[in-house]
Point group: C2
Amino acid sequence: MRNIKIVVEYDGGRYSGWQRLKDSDNTIQGKLERVISEMVGAETEITGSGRTDAGVHARNQVANFKTKSDMDVLEMRSYLNTYLPRDIVVKSVEDVGERYHSRYNAVSKKYSYYIWNGDVPSAFNRKYSYYVEKPLNLDDMRSAASKFVGTHDFLGFSSLKKSKKSTVRTISELSVHLDGDMVRIDFVGDGFLYNMVRIITGSLLEIGLGEKDISHIDKVFSSNIRASAGITVPAQGLFLEQVYY
Amino acid sequence: MRNIKIVVEYDGGRYSGWQRLKDSDNTIQGKLERVISEMVGAETEITGSGRTDAGVHARNQVANFKTKSDMDVLEMRSYLNTYLPRDIVVKSVEDVGERYHSRYNAVSKKYSYYIWNGDVPSAFNRKYSYYVEKPLNLDDMRSAASKFVGTHDFLGFSSLKKSKKSTVRTISELSVHLDGDMVRIDFVGDGFLYNMVRIITGSLLEIGLGEKDISHIDKVFSSNIRASAGITVPAQGLFLEQVYY
């Protein structure tokens, strides 16, 4: 059996997220599995590096699948991009060792969240960012961002009720960038809890808008209570940028 | 009467172009006039700097209208962006002198055409560029581009059959840029004939793909025959970037 790794870019806007659902194939995984199965002539399941939620985008999602097909990798890429919907693009296809597993072998991931902070909304970025009209204090957001870097229990910054598994994660980078009217927040970490990137972004926004003080973050960390953290910002601004192996 | 100038950004993807049509209001001008008329409480017509075709985008289209309303300009902008569809954004509203005319006073315009030249298409830029898979020779395209700069009769590079009006125009800049996999062609000129930007782009593409020689451009100029110029590339890659006064 060959083990094939693919790198996928998708506009998540009209999908119910990455993970295949029983009653709907309106998922990225579902669309990919259907076309891959047709291509290799056998029911084929793929393993992604992790899920992305409904509406979340990816520039470099990674997945792998096993197959007996002897099709050339460039032919595969061309086949997939011909038959996939145009908002899902396979950027590369390569043979990898049989033990390669796109989820277990992932060491860390990079997500970016995009906030459009102009005087008026953007006609072009509206589906790929969250519009915040009031001016943001980026210095305050950067100071707050530094509080998340390191190893912490992020339960209070997730949508998990409780968890039997550990909710401790390590964030190695959390940086705030400005390009014209677009604010981008980059997150690099060894793993992210459910909605964690979107809730941390919401918490940074409250601070950038002057609604809460930076010290508030310590309180959430010490109490672990979700309700006291910021809102969960919308999916449309979130991109899975990179998976590191 | 006040004379109000507006700067408008729009994603032209789902519209039948700028110019209001009798039987359909699926035009940018039509949408703007409806919301402006409601805002000022009187049927109001607007004058654009020029038309854009169906599917063409604009970052800074300019228009003006006369009104007796005494509404504040920032209130107007806020009203318009609340009631316009989200793919049409009014970036600024200002009072101008009564003789200001957004078409007659326009001195020159800048258009850009975007070509995605990656190994695979782009999930995110697919609606804002034309995908060309084969590699382009940008040096050849730049040499060819320089032949258009200056004052010429552009009849052969337009979709006009014949014209009673002059088809002589002056292009002051035609430059080819590369950013990652995106090729951008910038056009600055005192006026552009029907489909001229898209046909010149098609002609540059033929040369970039090695299908035609640079000398071919001189032949089109000397014959003025449209059929011998390049294809008309699709509207989705074309942006009206700026109108200069």
